[in-house]
């Protein structure tokens, strides 16, 4: 077949030398046709090879409605492969990494930060978030491997494994989120169980690569700690049959460990005292005594489409549970959040858009009495952040965030970088070459009661491989 096309080219090439300009156009057309013929021949050869190599045809469950053959010209661009019939998924299909035909989607996402700050060691007091850029030069604050898919007709599941490089360039790994969700419960009820980021407010349950800024809002770090509020437990949520969106969720979680920051957090070991301390108090061993020692996270959310192009989503959340600084010390956190988005009715890749997001949190922490040190006291922390994102051109987003946190004065404040008044203003600019990568430049102006003023500039690069998880609103 190939020699035939070579022969054809030969026939045409020879006389072309003696033709005039008018005929040249025809020749070009012929050449094009031959090119296409050759492509087609190659396709057919490939197809033939694959048919010969394939095992005997299997009975097909496909519809017999295949379109009649048409006078079609050979396929278009690079993807000049013979068309395939798409098949319904069946459990007998092998695992592949192709979305739509796989048991699970596998995705990998990495963030690399570079930058500097007037703070010599920004990780010590300025950038306290667990996925913030934490040092001058480069940092890799988050890489994650995520798996998700349907378990069976009744459950879906998700797992996210985080690998991070710390200050000494040592790698830490954690099972950040591992949970299942039901899909087949009646009455609009859903159950979620496992280890996951608590459904509190808007940003707490988002992963770092979904954030609009390189760092975690101050108030979230202050109230939920560097890693956000995350624990093992279960969520029961209900979508009432109202004409607009309302959702009630009740999370019941262990609330222990560092990720239960203001709750059953064992704190840090202080060698001199031979005990673990948190907020200046020795912590009590934290096993559950009864159901009242669990962490309860109720949330109510509602949403309206203000117009066809504008959507509003608002929520109220709380987190209520014991803390480890005393036998009966408890912590209460309350939050309100609001998200508004406008998107053009003729949006290209989702641009242009404007989005506004704000969250306010208030916490009350009953610090227990230390017989050898501080007496009992109530510590209050409160603050908010507000941010506006403007997707002004496809792939480009400009954003501005303002934040403020404060609290009452505590006895141990001088030793606690998580307390004291702070303000931060952060403008940034993000370019998304595709939805699988981004480059973000951010400036932070910081003012803190404990440290004065600081200026930082961070550049963030993100890349994703494999399946790209769909976005919630």
């Amino acid at each position: 077949m190939r020699s035939l096309s070579v022969f054809l080219i030969g026939i045409i090439a020879v006389p072309s030398a003696v033709l005039g300009a008018d005929e040249k156009i025809d020749i070009q057309a012929l050449r094009q046709e031959i090119r296409e013929l050759r492509q087609r021949t190659e396709q057919l050869e490939r197809k033939l090879q694959s048919i010969e190599a394939a095992p005997p045809a299997q009975p097909s469950t496909l519809t017999t409605n295949a379109p009649p053959p048409t006078v079609s010209t050979p396929a278009t661009s690079s993807a000049a492969e013979p068309a395939q019939l798409s098949k319904p998924w069946s459990p007998a299909n092998p695992i592949t990494l192709r979305a739509g035909s796989a048991y699970m989607n596998i995705g990998f996402d990495a963030l690399v930060d570079a930058g500097s700050s007037t703070a010599p060691e920004p990780g010590n007091y300025l950038q306290l978030g667990g996925h913030d850029p934490f040092q001058r030069g480069f940092s890799m604050p988050n890489t994650e491997l995520s798996l998700d898919g349907a378990v069976d007709p009744y459950f879906t599941a998700f797992a996210n494994f985080v690998l991070q490089l710390d200050k000494n360039n040592q790698t830490s790994i954690e099972a950040e989120e591992v949970y299942f969700k039901t899909t087949a419960l009646p009455w609009n009820i859903q159950l979620k169980g496992g280890q996951y980021l608590a459904n509190f407010g808007r940003q707490n349950s988002q992963h770092p690569h979904q954030w609009a800024f390189v760092d975690q809002p101050l108030i979230l770090t202050r109230v939920f700690g560097p890693d956000g509020l995350r624990s093992i437990g279960g969520d029961l949520s209900w979508l009432p049959p109202t004409p607009f969106f309302t959702e009630f969720t009740l999370g019941i979680l262990n609330g222990n460990g560092e990720q239960g920051f203001l709750f059953r957090n064992p704190g840090e070991y202080v060698a001199a005292a031979g005990a673990n301390y948190f907020r200046g108090r020795p912590t009590v061993a934290g096993d559950l005594r009864n159901a009242g020692d669990l962490l309860f996270v109720p949330r109510f959310a509602t949403s309206f489409d203000v117009t066809d192009n504008q959507t509003l989503l608002a929520g109220l959340s709380a987190a209520l549970g014991p803390n480890n600084t005393g036998q009966d010390s408890r912590t209460e956190v309350y939050g309100a959040d609001l998200y508004w988005k406008w998107k053009s009715p003729a949006a290209e890749k989702g641009f242009p858009f404007v989005a506004f997001q704000t969250e306010g949190l208030y916490s009350r922490f009953e610090a227990g009495a230390d017989p050898l040190g501080y007496p009992a006291e109530n510590l209050y922390d409160y603050g908010f952040y507000s941010q506006v994102l403007w997707g002004f051109h496809p792939r480009w987003v400009a954003a501005l965030r303002g934040e403020w946190v404060d609290g009452n004065r505590g006895l141990d404040d001088a030793n606690d970088v998580f307390r004291g008044e702070r303000t931060r203003i952060s403008p940034n600019l993000t370019w998304y070459p595709t939805e699988f990568s981004k480059i973000r430049l951010q400036y932070n102006f910081d003012h803190g009661e404990l440290f004065g003023e600081d200026h930082s500039v961070w550049l963030q690069f993100e890349f994703q491989l494999g399946a790209h998880a769909a976005h919630k609103f």
């Binding site: 010209t73 798409s86 990494l97 739509g100 087949a184 290209e348 939805e435 769909a470 976005h471």
Partner: protein, 304 residues
């Protein structure tokens, strides 16, 4: 606890009027599926379309209001082939509606039974945003619309056997109208068979294949990657060489870029949408949309 149980009770009471209705509640992700579901379902179904006809179907916001609509849907029509990959899964998940979960009887994958073009043999994102399952814009071929109408009728019969005859009748009438129209469309475009056409995004291979055009020039250098001046220069040169007269451009793409290329090549930018209702002044049913496209392409092709 008393409060909680009274809230739950109130919710259940509220639930009843919404649960008991005669018509099947059909949700279509995009307007093309919605339009066909309307044709086939007639007055036995209530069709809700999620994406707006003028927006990029790959980048739709998963609005919470969609969750509410999906929570009491009887049938969800998904285009598949990764058309809605960026936004549909959290909605299905959050709808808490067992009827429309993937694999459940109330979930319809429209791409099943359609011959999908451009299925890549190697998945490599350096080639741009290529869909692993092939090109998902298959409804621009009216023959595929006929297949999907038949499959939707089958699905609706399954869900509401009582109204099956109606669905079958509607489907046959719709497909007969397409059959008649196909002759007319073929006739109108026959003189231009084999000619090259250009498009901004690679959304039109099925349309091109059906009517015998060669669609091999795209303003985007790779799917989803915006045009660059260097690439546009190449496209313009190729268009001039091939005497390309048509640039297909959807409402959410950069019309100005397309117009610039058109001005340099003498081609016509055609308001083209895959979704009924996506073009101003064109009726929002499937046949009117294809009619508009065929007429506009024929008109542009007939220009000297």
């Amino acid at each position: 606890m008393k409060f909680t149980s009274s809230v739950i009770l109130a919710g259940l009471v509220l639930a009843f009027p919404l649960v008991s209705h005669g018509k099947l509640n059909v949700i279509a992700t995009t307007g093309d599926f919605g339009a066909i579901a309307r044709e086939v379902g007639g007055d036995e179904v209530k069709v809700t379309v999620l994406a707006r006809p003028t927006e990029d179907p790959h980048f739709v916001d998963a609005k919470p209001s969609f969750l509410v609509q999906m929570s009491h849907a009887d049938l969800l029509i998904e285009g598949g082939a990764e058309l809605e990959a960026a936004w549909l899964s959290p909605l299905i998940d959050g709808s808490r509606n067992p009827k429309i979960q993937r694999g459940a009887p109330g979930h319809f994958m429209a791409n099943e039974g359609v011959q999908i073009l451009e299925v890549p043999t190697a998945l490599d994102r350096s080639q741009g945003d290529i869909h692993a399952a092939g090109n998902p814009h298959y409804l621009t071929d009216p023959v595929n619309a006929q297949i999907i109408a038949r499959n939707i009728a089958k699905k609706l019969c399954e869900l509401d056997p009582r109204a099956c005859q109606k669905f079958e009748k509607n489907e046959q009438s719709f497909n007969a109208r397409i059959d008649a129209k196909l002759k007319e469309w073929d006739q109108k475009l026959a003189p231009y068979k084999g000619q090259h056409i250009a498009s901004y995004h690679n959304s039109w291979p099925y349309f091109a294949k059906r009517f015998g055009f060669v669609l091999d020039l795209f303003l985007e250098p790779r799917p989803g990657i915006p045009p660059t001046p260097a690439h546009l220069a190449e496209v313009i040169a190729a268009m001039q060489q091939e005497h390309v007269k048509v640039i297909l451009c959807e409402p959410f793409l950069n019309r100005r870029t397309a117009e610039k290329v058109a001005a340099d090549t003498g081609a016509t930018v055609i308001d083209s949408s895959q979704f009924p209702g996506g073009i101003k002044g064109v009726k929002d049913d499937y046949i009117s949309l294809i009619d508009h496209l065929v007429n506009a392409v024929a008109a542009a092709m007939s220009k000297p």
